[in-house]
């Protein structure tokens, strides 16, 4: 049986969650609402028994500097180290990759679907990748319960790929996964957002009604979200909210029949932290 996607998740990757996690603060009143929302999600994921997680995230100046900044970059390694983003290296085990699976994704995406990705044989993963991993999976001393494939998207230096392009990349990924001959169960995580702005006088801007609309539509009408321009997202949800285009990679990789399972929203400080999950039956 070829590989298939069993689930997709849209979720935020706020760095303060990593700090709270490392300092054992997830059960404090400020973080408990978020921590509680993920308990059933981890149980659900454990039942689905995924082999590989494709994590769609963006670099925040850990791997890539502006001398060379790829629009889309895919990890093609057996292991990914933990990055120092400027605040020290988090005490987490390195992440197991699946280089054969990555090679298949690169070949099919580039040859058949004409997505000309940057291919990375060394990547050190950072909060954009690790916070979602922390929220979704429990790691042991030696590693994580799933292998992972990092898929990096430029959402920080305009021109960014369009929301539509991200959606199409997801659709292409679905086809690529379905032609991999090994029987892998794949989950895909679209990370980032929701509304936030981290610079200028508008620092701290959030828009819960936009975020709730996005959660509604990522389930009901993702094609409509794929028509949003960067300008529209930034005006309505803050400049850094453009990260949400990465959720469309995830949604594009799911079938129209995918069933929504969990949904949550929490906005304590400066970022609307959203969560939505879908299962393929």
């Amino acid at each position: 049986m070829p590989s298939r996607i069993v689930a997709g998740l849209g979720l935020s990757h706020v760095p303060s969650v990593g700090v709270a996690y490392d300092r054992g603060k997830m059960q404090t009143p400020a973080w408990k609402p978020l921590a509680d929302a993920y308990v059933p999600v981890r149980e659900w994921l454990a039942r689905l028994k995924p082999d590989v997680a494709i994590v769609v995230y963006n670099d925040h100046g850990a791997d890539f500097m502006f001398d060379q900044y790829p629009t889309f970059a895919l990890g093609a390694a057996d292991r990914y180290g933990i990055a120092d983003e400027g605040f020290g290296t988090r005490p987490l085990p390195e992440v197991r990759g699946d280089a054969e699976f990555s090679a298949h994704l690169c070949e099919t995406l580039i040859y058949e679907h004409e997505f000309d990705l940057t291919v990375c044989q060394e990547l050190a993963v950072e909060h954009g990748f690790l916070v979602p991993m922390n929220l979704c999976f429990e790691h042991g001393k030696d590693g994580w319960p799933v292998a992972a494939v990092p898929l990096q998207v430029n959402v920080i230096q305009h021109p960014l790929p369009t929301a539509r392009r991200c959606y199409k990349l997801g659709q292409a990924l679905r086809k690529s996964i379905s032609t991999y001959p090994r029987d892998l169960r794949v989950v895909i995580l679209g990370t980032g957002g929701m509304s936030h702005q981290l610079q200028g006088k508008r620092f701290g801007f959030m828009n819960e009604s936009f975020d709730q609309m996005f959660l509604d539509q990522i389930e009901a009408d993702p094609d409509r979200l794929a028509s949003l321009t960067h300008q529209q997202i930034m005006e309505q949800a803050g400049a850094e909210a453009v990260e949400l285009i990465m959720w469309l990679v995830m949604r594009g990789a799911l079938s129209p029949q995918a069933r929504r399972v969990h949904r949550h929203y929490y906005a304590p400080m400066t970022t609307g932290m959203g969560l939505i999950t879908f299962q393929e039956d």
Binding site: G61, D84, Q157, H158, Q199, P268, M269
Partner: protein, 114 residues
């Protein structure tokens, strides 16, 4: 296709990135613990090593975060200089808003989630 200005917002595009190239390059280097120690030991020498202009050096010396963004600093790279100088995201944010830190925190839904 191009982006149009948004009030009180900086859009980090290629032109800003080009303008802020030296600043961002210096902040990117702070992903190494040894470099962070070098910066703390001698900021001026560190800035010279990255060929910062006099006005860029002044922004770093004054911890002028709004000025850094205007000079083409990327927010995620600014977090690295914030960390090494003891300025959290929220402290930098309060300064960019032109508010005291405590006043900024008072505008939040749950200010303990830091």
């Amino acid at each position: 296709m191009g982006l149009t200005p948004i009030a009180d917002t900086s859009i980090f595009d290629l032109r800003a990135s080009r303008r802020g190239y030296r600043l961002n390059r210096m902040c990117g280097s702070l992903c190494s613990p040894a470099n962070r120690e070098d910066f703390k030991r001698d900021e001026e020498a560190y800035m010279n090593h990255f060929s910062l202009s006099e006005s860029e050096k002044r922004l770093i010396r004054c911890r002028d975060f709004a000025g850094m963004i205007a000079a083409g600093m990327n927010i995620y790279f600014m977090l690295k200089i914030g960390s090494v100088t003891g300025n959290s995201l929220y402290r930098m944010g309060a300064q960019m808003r032109g508010e005291r830190y405590e006043d900024f925190l008072a505008t939040r839904n749950f200010k303990d989630a830091v």
